[in-house]
C-alpha cells in the first residue's frame, strides 16, 4: 500500500466529523471517496496532506507516518486556484519552484506535458483566458508536477458542465493509463466515481464512517459502454442504498 489511512478521527469544536476512517490506495490505483456535501471528505484530505492534525489515527505513506508533514503528497484543492498573475506555464511549475528547481529548468520540464494536458499554445496565456475545462487540466498538471507518490484530488471535475466533464473523464483515464499516478479522488458524483475508479469508499452517517467499499474489476472498465450496462446500474443502486438517499 502506498497510502494507508488508519483509524483517522477528526472533530471540530467538540463535534466529531469523521470517525475511525480506514482506507488504502495501492500503487497506480485510482480510489474514490464518495460522500454527500459536508460529510468530511475535505477534512480527511487536510489530515492526509498534513495541514491539520487529526484527533486520533495515523496516515502512512509507503509505511512511514506523514502526520503534520505538508509537502508529502500532491494535493489539488477543491478550487483550481490558478494564480491570475502568473502565466499558465508559471502556474504549473509552482511546485517545482517551491522545491528548489530553477525557473528555467522547471519550464523546460513542464512544457513537454502541455500537449498531453490539452494546453498546447497556452503556456504564455494567463488563466483568465482559459476555459473551465482547461483550467482544471492546468491545475491537474500543476498537481502532477509536484511528483509525489500519491495525488489527492478534491472534486477535480465538479465545477464543469456535464459534457465537458465527460470529455475530461475520458482524457483523465487515458492519461492515467500513461502516468500511473496513485490517486485518491473526492467526488459526490456517483457516475463519476464508477467511471474513474478501481475502488470506491462510501462515506455516510453522522459522524461519517466508511459504510461500504466497492471494487470495480478492470474487466468492467474495459467493457464498451460500461456506463450503460446492467453492472453499472447495480453498482449505482448499491451506492444509493449505502448513502441512504
Amino acid at each position: 500500500m502506498i497510502l494507508d489511512v488508519k483509524n483517522v478521527t477528526q472533530s471540530f469544536d467538540g463535534q466529531q466529523i469523521i470517525q475511525k476512517i480506514n482506507l488504502q490506495v495501492a500503487k497506480g490505483e485510482i480510489v474514490s471517496l464518495l460522500g454527500v456535501s459536508g460529510s468530511g471528505k475535505t477534512t480527511l484530505f487536510n489530515v492526509i496532506a498534513g495541514l491539520n492534525q487529526p484527533a486520533s489515527g495515523d496516515v502512512l505513506l509507503a509505511g512511514t507516518s506523514i502526520l503534520n508533514q505538508p509537502g508529502q503528497v500532491s494535493y489539488m484543492l477543491q478550487k483550481d486556484l490558478l494564480m491570475p498573475y502568473r502565466t499558465v506555464l508559471d502556474n504549473v511549475i509552482l511546485p517545482l519552484l517551491i522545491t528548489g528547481t530553477s525557473k528555467k529548468l522547471a519550464r523546460k520540464q513542464a512544457l513537454p506535458f502541455f500537449e498531453e494536458f490539452g494546453l498546447t499554445g497556452y503556456a504564455k496565456s494567463y488563466p483568465d483566458e482559459l476555459s473551465g475545462g482547461m483550467r482544471q487540466r492546468a491545475a491537474l498538471l500543476r498537481t502532477y508536477l509536484f511528483h509525489k507518490p500519491v495525488a489527492l484530488l478534491d472534486e477535480p471535475f465538479s465545477a464543469l458542465d456535464a459534457i465537458t466533464k465527460r470529455a475530461l473523464h475520458r482524457w483523465y483515464l487515458e492519461i492515467m493509463g500513461k502516468i500511473h499516478l496513485s490517486t485518491l479522488l473526492i467526488t459526490h458524483d456517483i457516475d463519476e466515481a464508477l467511471v474513474l475508479s478501481n475502488r470506491i469508499y462510501v462515506l455516510a452517517q453522522k459522524p461519517s464512517i466508511i459504510v461500504d467499499e466497492i471494487n470495480i474489476p478492470e474487466a468492467l472498465h474495459q467493457q464498451p459502454e460500461f456506463e450503460l450496462s446492467d453492472e453499472f446500474l447495480q453498482l449505482k443502486r448499491r451506492i444509493i442504498t449505502d448513502l441512504n438517499i
Binding site: 495541514l51 505538508p70 509537502g71 502568473r86 502565466t87 517551491i98 522545491t99
Partner: protein, 256 residues
C-alpha cells in the same frame, strides 16, 4: 462607430476642460478684466518659463532628487513595516494604532524642526518626504498582504513552502494593486513635501525659487513654477501608471 466616437470624446473631456480654462484665463487677462500684475496672461507665463528655463530646470533637478530619495526610502520603509506587521500579529496590534494616530500630526508642520536640526541641505527634505510617504504605503501594503487568498496559502503549504515563499508567490502579488495605489499618492506627496521643506529653508529647489520670485512679486514666474510643478507631478504619476502596466501584464487582456 458612434459608440466608439463617444468613448474617445469622453476620454478627451479633461483636455477640453483644460483648454477651456486656458481660454477663459486668456480672455480675462488679455482684456484687462483682471489686472495683469495680479494675474499674468498665459503668454506672460510661457515667456517667464522661457526666460528662466535653465535656472528652473536646475532647481527642478534639486527638488526631484530630494523627492526621489525621500520617496524611495519612504516606500522601502513603508513596505518593510507592512511586511513585519503582517508577520507578527502582536506587533501589528501594538504599533498599528500608534501609526494611525501619528498621522493626525500634520507632517508638513515638522518641516521647520527638521530644518533646525539638519540644516539647509537635502537631508531634512528627504526626511520630511520619508515621514509623509511611508504611511500610505504601509497602510495600503498591509491591507494588500492581508487580502491574500487563504486557499492559495493553503495550496502553497501543501507544496511544503515556507513563509518567505508564501510572501513572494502569494502575498506580495496580492498587494501589488494596493501598492501602486499608494505609490500614486506618495509620488504627489513627495513633490509637495520637497517644495514645502524648501519654502521653510533651503539653498536650491523649486520651493526656494518660489519664495524668491514671491519676494519680488514676479507673478508670471510664480505661475510658471506652479505649472512646472503640476506638470512634473503629472509626469511622475504617468510613469507610475506605466510601471504598473509593466509589472501587472495579466491586467492587459489577451496575450495569446
Amino acid at each position: 462607430m458612434l459608440k466608439k466616437l463617444q468613448s474617445i470624446n469622453i476620454k478627451l473631456l479633461p483636455v477640453y476642460v483644460v483648454l477651456l480654462t486656458i481660454l477663459v484665463w486668456y480672455v480675462v487677462t488679455a482684456t484687462g478684466l483682471i489686472p495683469r500684475f495680479f494675474l499674468p496672461t498665459p503668454g506672460d507665463v510661457v515667456q517667464a518659463f522661457k526666460d528662466d528655463f535653465t535656472f528652473l530646470l536646475q532647481n527642478a533637478w534639486v527638488t526631484l532628487t530630494e523627492a526621489f530619495w525621500g520617496l524611495l526610502l519612504g516606500v522601502v520603509l513603508g513596505v518593510s513595516i507592512a511586511i513585519v506587521m503582517e508577520r507578527f500579529e502582536l506587533l501589528y496590534r501594538a504599533v498599528y494604532p500608534l501609526l494611525v494616530l501619528s498621522q493626525t500630526i500634520p507632517t508638513y508642520a515638522i518641516a521647520p524642526i527638521l530644518i533646525l536640526w539638519f540644516g539647509y541641505g537635502m537631508l531634512p527634505k528627504i526626511l520630511l518626504i520619508i515621514v509623509t510617504t511611508f504611511f500610505p504605503v504601509a497602510v495600503e501594503m498591509l491591507t494588500g498582504l492581508r487580502s491574500a487568498d487563504q486557499d492559495l496559502i493553503k495550496l502553497m503549504k501543501t507544496m511544503g513552502s515556507n513563509r518567505l515563499q508564501i510572501l513572494w508567490y502569494v502575498k506580495l502579488p496580492a498587494s501589488l494593486e494596493h501598492f501602486f495605489a499608494s505609490l500614486r499618492i506618495s509620488v504627489s506627496y513627495s513633490i509637495i513635501g520637497a517644495v514645502i521643506a524648501e519654502w521653510v529653508g533651503g539653498e536650491a529647489g523649486l520651493g526656494v525659487y518660489m519664495t524668491r520670485v514671491m519676494k519680488v512679486y514676479a507673478y508670471d514666474k510664480m505661475f510658471a513654477v506652479i505649472v512646472l510643478i503640476s506638470f512634473v507631478s503629472l509626469l511622475l504619476i504617468l510613469i507610475v501608471d506605466g510601471l504598473q502596466r509593466l509589472t501587472m501584464p495579466w491586467k492587459r487582456g489577451s496575450h495569446k
